[in-house]
Subunit: 329 residues, 2 copies
Amino acid sequence: MKIIVDAFGGDNSPGAVISGAYMAAKEFGDIILVGDEDKIREYAKNNSIAIDDVNIEIIDAKPVIEIEDDPQMILREKMDCSMAVGLRTLSEGDGDAFVSAGSTGALVVGATFIAKRLKGIKRAALSPIMPTDTGPLILTDAGANLDCRPEMLVQFGIMASCYMQRVMGIESPRVGLLNVGSESTKGRSLDMDAYKLLQKAPVNFCGNVEARELPWGVCDVVVTDGFTGNIALKLYEGLGGYFSNSLKGMFSGFPGAVAAASIMPRIKAFRNKMNTTDIGGAMLMGISKPVIKAHGNSDDKSFYRTICQARDCVEGNFIEEISNALKEV
Amino acid sequence: MKIIVDAFGGDNSPGAVISGAYMAAKEFGDIILVGDEDKIREYAKNNSIAIDDVNIEIIDAKPVIEIEDDPQMILREKMDCSMAVGLRTLSEGDGDAFVSAGSTGALVVGATFIAKRLKGIKRAALSPIMPTDTGPLILTDAGANLDCRPEMLVQFGIMASCYMQRVMGIESPRVGLLNVGSESTKGRSLDMDAYKLLQKAPVNFCGNVEARELPWGVCDVVVTDGFTGNIALKLYEGLGGYFSNSLKGMFSGFPGAVAAASIMPRIKAFRNKMNTTDIGGAMLMGISKPVIKAHGNSDDKSFYRTICQARDCVEGNFIEEISNALKEV
């Protein structure tokens, strides 16, 4: 198995990517790092990372697509950026999965047109993992498609359900439609139509779910359009960050240290529960091979975990499973 | 000034409504309680609430519109429910503002067709107050209109801006459009068109705001369509409730009490910051007189505060201010 990794994406690249890739290569399989070879070798040398002692191959690609670039540039002016070269390597069969922490927009465009969509899939969906009280849930779509049709939402639900089953090991993932009320007649026409289609889809559809129920783990897969999903994801992250910051403030200084000392195991347990770094990045579902968007602020451990997630996708035959499920529709 | 209060709406009605109305009547002005007079008098008697010693008038109305009723029933089968009678009293000029903790859907329909919209207003918008790190923000629309046109979003922004200015005392409220990115070209066509219109509107438009910035108090007014707003509101409430519950768990039992003792002022400060009960309910903006939706689980103090909010709306001439602002458009 070979995992292709974009070495020049994310706030901490290339350092964190190289370290993460090295950790993964030491533990399992082959890694292909795509990006400026001189810079990669220089960083590895300066930080005593023995990349030549493990199965890390480097494919040289000097340009980088930046967050502020128009996503379409990956198909035009920046066809030779590390992300595009990585996706082409994937598409040509020289690797089994692709990981990048670069521009989400460019990754959606690049994956769709370079690595191509799975046969029958209307749109690729960005599907991050979010923490809940009872375990992780997957949200789909979280921003790849701002305007959706009902049948797209159904495909998102099927793909995310396959993921939770094959990669996360949940036997019969509960699929919920994010809506403003629990009754089937609630929501916009998009939601009402998607509701009817999801009832007939090969998933364990548990009906509408309300946003206030999400933190409690009401379902394993949350389906919605990309605009709503992006707002929900960012609010989840924003409030999570805000509360975590407030907690830090509460436990700061001398009185804080005294307080923290007596309930440290509880604080740690809560932090672990709310931490998704260990799970990896956001799947871009619907592409013919696993493509994963690593968090922009990923550190070396997060890159390592996201590469592990890519391995799990390949080992779980998750793409094949999607194709099979789609045949049922 | 007379505030009309629906005595039979909310989880704790009529008890909490009667107690809250009594607190308000003792402190200022007249209250009209609408609902089953026998039950109101019986509750007051059994709980030693001397409603006859303060300026509380009762208008008898036996039927109640339930949360599970079709909202349209307020215009048909349930025309004589406490909510409808209250709105009619408001519309006929016998009161200056209306407060209810009953069905949101019925209140939107009833207020629109019984109390009527302000001249020139396309749709009424549900506008709750949410806590942030730097003070309250108002979200509009949070569920009255699932499908919106750009010009509706602009009106919501103007109305909510007037509210923050006249009732909350913010000199130049910053109005943000909830979107998936900060650039003006982000979002659906609804958002891009609303962005252009908001730039020309008589508000202090600060551009697009991302959901992750909301807890930090990035603006005073957040404008969006009712579907997105409802999801954002409920996620905000849900995550807030989840974290507050987790905090409780951390500080429970003996080790928790020890920890809490050393940082109690910080815990209290955080709780106070995140508490909106003191602010009141959600304005239904765009109606010809102030109509406020009290939280469904309001206790007596929340009802008291929501009645105070209604008083502040009347005293702040907030409706007149909206009319003036609309003339500028």
